[in-house]
C-alpha cells in the first residue's frame, strides 16, 4: 500500500505533511469530516515535531484491517523528549506558542493515539484514523 515519508524541517514542510495526509486520507476513502479531523491532528503533530522536537519526519500510509480502511501517520523527532507525558496531554498546557491544545486536541481527533518518549531520546507519536 502507499507509504510515504516526508521530512519536517520548516514551516513549509508542515503544509506539505497536511497535503500528503489529505491525499492518503482520500485514497483510504475517509469521509470529508474524517479527513479534516485527521489532517488537523497531523498539522498539530507536525508542528510539535518542528517546534519541540527540533525537526524530524512524518510517515503516512494507507492501512487496512479486514474490510476496514484507514490511515496511519507516525511523527518522529530526535528532540529532548517529553518529560511529563500526562502534563503534555492536558488541555491548556503549553510550553510554546499555540493554544495548548496540540497534543490533547490531536488525540481527540483520531481513533488510535500513542506516544513514545523519554527525555533525551526523542518522541514518536503514532495516530490512526479509520473510515466509518
Amino acid at each position: 500500500m502507499t507509504r510515504r515519508e516526508l521530512p519536517i524541517n520548516d514551516d513549509g514542510d508542515v503544509v506539505r505533511v497536511r497535503q500528503l495526509v489529505r491525499s492518503v486520507a482520500v485514497d483510504a476513502r475517509l469521509s470529508l469530516v474524517e479527513q479534516t479531523k485527521l489532517v488537523t491532528a497531523a498539522s498539530e503533530l507536525a508542528r510539535n515535531t518542528l517546534t519541540y522536537g527540533g525537526g524530524g519526519a512524518a510517515t503516512v500510509e494507507h492501512i487496512t484491517n479486514g474490510t476496514k480502511s484507514g490511515v496511519r501517520a507516525i511523527f518522529r523527532d530526535k528532540g529532548p523528549g517529553i518529560a511529563d507525558l500526562d502534563l503534555a496531554l492536558t488541555d491548556g498546557y503549553t510550553s510554546g506558542k499555540g493554544l495548548g491544545l496540540g497534543l490533547g486536541g490531536a488525540r481527540r481527533l483520531v481513533d488510535e493515539f500513542s506516544v513514545e518518549s523519554s527525555p533525551g531520546s526523542g518522541t514518536t507519536v503514532t495516530v490512526t484514523k479509520w473510515a466509518r
Binding site: D11, V14, V15, T36, V39, T40, L101, G104, G105, R108
Partner: protein, 120 residues
C-alpha cells in the same frame, strides 16, 4: 511566501484567505492586520475562510488574537464561511473561539457589521 491581501471596503477591512497558509504567513497576517486597523480607523474586520479546508489550533489562535486586538482598537471582527467539517473539527478539538462573531458568508458578515453599527 504568500502574503494575504487586505482590502478596504468602506470602513471594513476584508481579508480573504485563498490558500493553506504557512505558520509564518499566519503571523505576518496578524501583524499587518493590526497595523491596517489602526492606520485606517476601520470599524470592522471580516476574515473569509471559506476556502480553508483545515484550521488547526495555530490558525484558530490567530483568529482569536485578531479578534482580541481589533476589539482593543475599537473594531469588530467577523469570521465568515467556515466549512462544516472545519467547525466540527474545531469543536472536537475543544476550540470554542469565544468572543469571535461568525457568519455563514461574506454578505451576512457585512450585514452583521452594519447592524452592529446601527445599534451602537
Amino acid at each position: 511566501m504568500d502574503s494575504v491581501p487586505i482590502l478596504k471596503i468602506g470602513d471594513v477591512l476584508l481579508v480573504s484567505i485563498q490558500t493553506d497558509l504557512q505558520d509564518e504567513a499566519v503571523m505576518a497576517l496578524q501583524e499587518s492586520l493590526a497595523e491596517r486597523i489602526s492606520s485606517t480607523g476601520a470599524s470592522g474586520v471580516i476574515i473569509d475562510i471559506s476556502v480553508l479546508d483545515v484550521v488547526d489550533s495555530f490558525a484558530g489562535r490567530m483568529l482569536a488574537t485578531v479578534a482580541a486586538i481589533s476589539r482593543v482598537l475599537d473594531a469588530e471582527t467577523v469570521v465568515v464561511g467556515m466549512r462544516p467539517a472545519v467547525a466540527i473539527t474545531l469543536v472536537e478539538m475543544g476550540l470554542s473561539l469565544d468572543g469571535i462573531k461568525t457568519a455563514l458568508d461574506l454578505e451576512r458578515g457585512m450585514r452583521l457589521l452594519s447592524g452592529d453599527g446601527a445599534l451602537a
